[in-house]
Every structure is written in C-alpha cells, then in structure tokens.
Symmetry: C2
Subunit: 386 residues, 2 copies
C-alpha cells in the first residue's frame, strides 16, 4: 500500500517507537503510585518525556506539559476549561470538528457567543475581518496552525497579536504541524498549544497533550485519582496533576518519547524540508492534469519548483465532478493508494470552498513518504482523469 493519509495518522513509525513500547511493557509500573522501582521507572520516563516536549515546543516548564489521549481531548480541556458562560470566542472557518463541536456545545449549553473568521476562495484566513470580530467579552481565540483539509498554514503570530491586543487568550490546534515544522509556542504567541502524538510526531495512537503558558489557569475536565493529595476533595491545583486524572498511558508515552528522539535526531527542519519537497513534487505533477482541481492556496506557496510560503504536507483535490469517495475507492482498490475522501471533519471549510457535496480527495505526506510513491499517485491521477 502507498500510504498517503498521514494527516489522519502516520502509519510508518520509527522502529525505536515499537521497541520503546515493548521495553516499557516489561518493567513499567504506575507513575506516581508508589515509590518502588517500577513506579519510579514510569514516573521518570513520563517526566523525561514532558521535558522533551517542553523543549520541543518551547513550553516554559515540563510541569506545564499535560498528557491526554489525543488532541481532541486536549482541545476539549482547553476550551471547556477556559471559557465561561456568557463569554465570546472567535474561531475560524478552517477549524476541525475537534474545535467546532466543543464550541457549538458551549454555545448551546452555556450561552457562549461564537464568531467565525472567514476565508477566501483559496481557503486563506481573512485576518482583517478577524480583527473586527473582537468584543469586550472576547475570552479566547481558537485557531488551527494549519488546515487539515488544504494544508494552508495560518499566520498564528498575527492572530496572537490581535488576540492579546484585545486581552484574549489564544488556543492553537497544532494537529497538522507538531513534528513536521518548528512549533515554538512563545514565538507563535500561543497561550495553550494542543498537539497529538500519532501524526507528525510519529508516536503511537493514544498519546497527545497540551502545553500551557505560565499563568493560564485551566479548569479540569475530569477528576479522579492522582496518587497525591488523596484527602483533597478536589483535583490538586498544581499542573500537570490538575488536568491528568487516572493512570497515564505510560506505555504509549514511552513510544512518543522515542519518536521525539528520532525527530530531534533527524531535525525538525529536515522533516519540514522533506515534506515541502514532497508537496512540491506532487503539486507539480498534478497541477496541469486536465480535470483536476486543487483546493486551497498551495499554488500561491510554490514558485519555480520550491515552497516559498509555508504549507503543510497536504494537497486536496477533485477530478471534475466525480464524488471524492469514488476517486479514493478507485485509488485504493485499483492502485493500492490510501488517501482520505469526504469531509475530513472540516465542515465550514468545505462549505466555504463549495465542496460540501463532492468532498475532496486528500493526499498527505510524511517524513517516510518516498518520491516513487508521489510519482505513482501522480500517475494514477493522470490515468483516472484521462
């Protein structure tokens, strides 16, 4: 199988990920539950991973790195834990349902007010319009770092400056960028940075988290055993314990730790450069195929065969008016090429781009994608469109 669905989950992981999980399965106890060697081993492994993540995302401290089971949980924790009834929140039409659905819930249940910054026909965020959305009660802006549908990268720093000028917090969804480009929460101006372990970070499923700027106080979504302060009726107030109830996924976190080592070894800039080259190769291959329509702003980002503006390793397209599911099925069954058709949990962006009915066929790349795989996908599309 030629796997080009890396925006959903990276399938190929560095070999040391599996080795680290196996190793952890052999001697890891329960972190923060006891002081014997097994428990300490778990605690040390988990803390070391917090430290690595803090360094990786430039989070102010390892204790402000919270582990979750996936980025959806991270976003739910950040959004529900910061927004109060009657608050106003700004988000964008680029967002995934992991942002939209928690916000819609707060709107329906708690009278939270929502405003959406729109996009143009290429899915580029309208920053000027966003500026006009702020109100006195704007509590937070929730914004993706890159669209999971088109790969469009948002100028998060610009959004952060607007948010902070209006006294609002910025929550960033880094699902499509963590591990594949430099994501520095201080540089971006993120007050909360949400990430997942199983995509660009090349770790196992069941891992993710959030990095919290010093001074940002998030209410817990869940409460429960913490191994400390047993007689406190509330969840302890200290991070990370405040937001982590119950036994952590120590085995998965050990795998994520090994994945981080791998990325640090090859260098995140090298990963970015490789994904950029793959994106250019794919784009150049398909852009002139008659009948192929490419979504988003990738055409703006590529000049003379290289990426001149940031873009994630994602290209979404359609062939004439053929249903995206049909194209993906033929690619899968006829060519052994795995892509993702349909709506990609990004309802507002499909509506903005006019692809609600047709969906789109998304091709997404990873560090492990080979040039030959890109070429095979281009060739398949040429045949299909012919």
């Amino acid at each position: 199988m030629i796997y080009l669905d890396n925006a959903a989950t990276t399938m190929k992981k560095p070999p040391q990920v599996g080795e680290a999980i196996l190793e952890a399965l052999q001697h890891m106890g329960n972190s923060s539950r006891g002081t014997h060697a097994g428990a300490l081993d778990a605690a040390r492994s988990i803390f070391a991973t917090r430290e690595k993540l803090a360094a990786f995302f430039n989070c102010p401290g390892a204790d402000h790195v919270i582990f979750t089971s996936n980025i959806t949980e991270s976003l739910n924790i950040a959004i529900r834990g910061l927004v109060d009834p009657g608050d106003h929140v700004i988000t964008t039409d680029l967002e995934h349902n992991s942002v939209l659905r928690p916000l819609y819930s707060l709107e329906a249940e708690q009278g939270v007010q929502l405003s959406f910054a729109g996009v143009d026909e290429k899915g580029r965020l309208d920053y000027d319009a966003m500026e006009g959305l702020f109100r006195d009660n704007t509590k937070a802006v929730v914004c993706t770092n890159a669209s999971n549908l088109t790969g469009t990268v948002v100028d998060v720093k610009r959004v952060a400056d607007m948010a902070h000028a209006h006294g609002a917090l910025l929550i960033v969804d880094a699902a499509q960028t963590a591990g594949t480009r430099r994501v520095d929460m201080a540089e971006l101006g993120a007050d909360v940075l949400c990430f997942t372990g199983h995509k660009g970070l090349l770790g196992p499923q069941g891992t993710g988290g959030l990095c919290i700027r010093e001074g940002v106080e998030i209410r817990p979504l869940k409460a429960g055993g913490t191994g400390v302060q047993t007689y406190n009726r509330q969840q302890p107030s200290e991070y990370p314990t405040r937001l982590e109830a119950g036994t952590l996924n120590g085995h998965g976190i050990a795998g994520l730790s090994a994945a981080l080592d791998y990325i640090n070894e090859v260098g995140v800039d090298a990963v970015e450069a490789r994904e950029a080259a793959l994106t250019v190769r794919f784009y150049e291959g398909v852009k002139d195929i008659p009948g192929v329509t490419i979504l988003g702003d990738v055409s703006d980002c590529i000049k003379n065969g290289r990426l001149v503006k940031p873009h994630a390793g994602i290209v979404a397209l359609n062939i004439r008016d053929i249903d995206s599911g049909e194209v993906a099925d033929i690619l899968s069954t006829g060519y052994g090429i795995a892509t993702r058709p349909g709506a990609h949990c990004a309802p507002r962006l499909h509506e903005a781009l006019g692809t609600k009915e047709q969906g789109a066929v998304r091709f997404s790349f990873s560090w492990f994608t080979a040039e030959e795989e890109i070429d095979a996908a281009v060739e398949a599309l040429r045949e299909l469109a012919g």
Copy 2:
C-alpha cells in the same frame, strides 16, 4: 523485583500483548477515517475488540462498548453524563477518588446531593443503611465491585436490586475485578460497567472503557471529530461514536485485544482461582506474625485454607504503628519487593478504618505472581515485624 502492586497496574503482560501492539504499529491507519486498507484494518481491529469485550462482560452489544483512556475517564463520562443538577446520588465509603472527586465536583458546581453508605470496622458495606439513603430524586448509585484498598468484594447484585427498586441507575467501578473474576453486567445488574485495560485485563496502559445497558443515555463529556456526520454540529447520537471523540488508541486496543484472548484462553475462572490461592497463601503466612494488623474482611473470607467468600487478590496491612511508607520503602530497597503504601486514593475507607495517618501497605497479586514471591514477602514481613 518482586512486583506485588498489581492493583495499581499489572506489570507483567502476556507476550502477545506487545506483539499485537508492534503488529498494529506496522499497518494500522486511523479507524473510521477513510476506507483504504489501513483505515479498515484499524476499524476491524477495534470493532473486534468491542465484540470481545461485549462477550466478556455480557454487554448487550458491541456498539455499547465505549473505549476510553482509563477507567477514571470512564467513570467521569458515566457520572457527569447521567447526573443532572439537583439530582441525588448514593455512593459508598469504599470508593476510589475516581468516583469521589467527580461526585464532589458535581456537588460543588451543580448542587448535586450526595449520600454515602458506610462500612463496618472490617470495611464491609452496610447494605441496610444504604437502603435508607434513597430519596425521590436519587438518580444513581455509584459503587465499586471491590475495594482497591482492602480487596473487599461488594455484593453488587444486592446494591443493584435496591437501586432499581428505587428507580435509580447503577454505575459499577470494576477496576479491581475486570479480568480477575467473572464480571457479568446483566447478572450484576449494572446499568453502566466501567473497566480499565491495564490492571486485571493485562492490557497496556492507555486503554479502558465502559459498557452501557441498552436504553441508558449518557451525555458526551468531550466532542470532536468522529469521521462520520461531519456536518452535524453535535456529537453523533449513536453509541459508541457519541462518547468517543478523536482518534482512538488503536495500537493500545490491539494490545488489549490480545490480552483478552489470553485471559479467555486460560479462563477467567482459572485466574480467579489462582489469585484466590495466592491471597490465601499470603494471608495464612502473615496473619499470625506479631505486630501485623490486617485491614478489611479477608479473615472472614478464608476458612480452612481456602477462600469461602469472594475477595480480590489484595491484602493491606500495617506493622504496629510504623508509617506505611517506611515499611514499603524497606520492602522495596531491602528486599526488592514492590508494594503500595499510603492512602491508595481511597480517603473515606482509610478514615473509616482509622488508618488516615498511617496509611497501609498494600500487597496485590496477579495471574503471573509466583508462590515463591508470596513466600518471600511473608518472610520479609516476618523479619521486619520481628
């Protein structure tokens, strides 16, 4: 290390657990995200595990088996998703903070009324007193299947009959019983059964779930991407999707599935019998050591060298008035024996048993615990108490 902290997490897993995770790491895509081989592989693996769990716990259907990252999340989902402001909830002094803290939060934030069924000096639940706690607005009873501190097994069927007679739902915490004895949700009368994967089920950390009786409607705790019904602003109403937002821990679930196969192969009755034999061996070894005080009702459960009443594979004790942490430290550093001292996230039971200050040293066993390990622990205690 002699690992006797299996009530926190089982350290030794069947070898096929690691193999299954490795295998999944090699070809698993993202369940319910796309129809290519990788995604279908993930979807099939996860659905097959739901079916196994449904059969294992006698849950009415695989679609009513929900995956979570641990039982704390399961309990938070069940409790927060069923209890409304102004409702009354009954629970017990045997509960873990994974039950108590969510309930205390609801009490503080939403005016939920709480009542606690107490225990006697051996930590046995006072069922008659519980009967008197029901009110017209009692919505639910939340009750453990077995104490994580003393190993005392609760007559859940009796609690269920009371709850149902009063029109209340029963939420069962099976953290200490799932995988180590027959847990049949219909037989127990559980409306919601919460379980974790990394203890008696011998699976990896990061797995757990809840089984829901047909007709019980739980509100989602989290919302987000589901891979289906993208244009629905709410979380889809169908189980299991309703309660599962974001990418599941497919790699961990593959490990849990292999662990279930292992338990089904040896037979859960054999596991129960083995843990019973280990418990008896340990109890008989320590009960007459001068200075050793055993907590709970284990003495009632053992007659003539065998278990005559159900008891989990847990024995908690103290040596005279020595701090439990000190005893556990000496056991760990001097004898290489891993136990769990302190409060075990069970504040009300320690208060009821008068061990709030001292805590207790908990010894907990698993299918993989060897007789020689039990004997070494007994010998160490004899030396320590001498």
